[in-house]
């Protein structure tokens, strides 16, 4: 029996903002909290909530520190995060293909 592509979707990743965070963090080696907030157009509180979900799932690592007097929060994708993003993109592509096949 063929497994439906929706079974490959992960609840943690299959969410627009969290997918966006992973996509941005994948492209940049490390990404700062403020860059994510402005790029994704989120409030600090909203972004923090999504980051907590991803961190608890082990998909990102959060590093807090200072550059001069300025506090900085850096986000980096973990190996699990890279794999989760790859799997999610593959599942989405597969799902789109299936939906298009069914539509014809």
């Amino acid at each position: 029996m063929t497994v439906h592509p929706v079974n490959g979707l992960d609840d943690v990743v299959h969410q627009r903002v969290r997918l966006g965070i992973l996509a941005v963090a994948q492209q940049a080696r490390r990404v700062e909290f403020t860059f994510l907030r402005s790029t994704l157009d989120l409030t600090a509180g909203n972004l923090s909530q999504h980051l907590s979900v991803l961190e608890n799932a082990g998909l990102i690592a959060i590093e807090k520190g200072y550059e001069g007097r300025r506090a900085r929060t850096w986000i980096q994708l973990t190996k699990s995060g890279k794999k989760a993003l790859r799997d999610e993109i593959a599942s989405l592509k597969s799902l789109i293909q299936q939906l298009e096949t069914n539509a014809t």
């Binding site: 079974n7 997918l19 996509a23 941005v24 790029t39 789109i96």
Partner: protein, 237 residues
């Protein structure tokens, strides 16, 4: 297994499009290749006095078509290139580091710097070896018969070739077709301009057109990239 409701047909496309758009946006923000191009243009132009006034060592003469062709090298230029190219990677690294801090995102620039430094080492080793074995060089160079495969190889193994090959990797890292195109044009010019004023021209300034063309392509390429990034908005400049 997901507990989300079954997706509508628009949702996966929309999610995928969002992820791709964000990736493209970050790539645009990360691009800064105009700076290395301008740095290497300056390095190329600055080579002029070292090549012109560096003490020339005639090394080997061969008889060609009733005359003689002598190979020679400038000791000063031989040392200028590795030092200048290695020093060039310092401001380039600094530029990407500062940008990374200012914008709040990293760039995977290390492979470019490492490859650049390795290529400088290889081309320097080759230049030193060629200077020590002039008979080999004179025996494999072709005069007046157009560029031969060995000539192309020698040009690629030059400092200009080292700059171009490393820039190809930078184009791959930045996923920039514009930089890839400029670099390809630069490498073609580096290889094709092989016979410009070379060997058969007795002038001590015979090298100059070559340097001006190489440096000119880098300068124009850097300016074009800077304009493209400026046109894409202040955040991408």
């Amino acid at each position: 297994m997901t507990t989300e409701p079954a997706p509508t047909s628009g949702e996966p496309q929309s999610l995928l499009a969002t992820a791709h758009e964000l990736t493209r946006q970050v790539r645009r923000e990360q691009r800064g290749a105009w700076f290395p191009l301008l740095v290497f243009a300056v390095v190329t132009f600055a080579a002029t006095p070292f090549v012109r006034y560096g003490h020339r060592h005639p090394t080997h003469c061969t008889s060609v078509q009733g005359g003689y062709v002598c190979s020679s090298y400038s000791a000063l230029a031989l040392w200028y290139w590795p030092v200048a190219l290695l020093l060039a990677y310092l401001p380039i690294s600094w530029f990407y580091l500062i940008r990374s801090r200012q914008r709040g995102m990293g760039t995977r620039i290390q492979p470019y710097i490492v490859l650049g430094v390795v290529l400088v080492g290889l081309t320097t080793a080759w230049a030193l070896w060629a200077a020590a074995h002039p008979a080999f060089l004179a025996g494999t160079l072709h005069v007046g018969s157009g560029a031969q495969p060995t000539d192309v190889l020698y040009r690629i193994a030059s400092p200009a070739g080292a700059i171009g090959l490393a820039l190809l990797l930078l184009a791959r890292i930045e996923r920039s077709w514009a930089l890839a195109t400029i670099t390809a044009a630069y490498l073609i010019v580096v290889v094709a301009a092989f016979d410009v004023g070379r060997l058969t021209h007795p002038s001590p300034w015979a090298f100059l057109p070559h340097l001006l063309i190489d440096g000119g392509v880098l300068l124009v390429g850097g300016a074009v990239l800077a304009l493209i990034q400026r046109a894409q908005g202040p955040s991408a400049a």
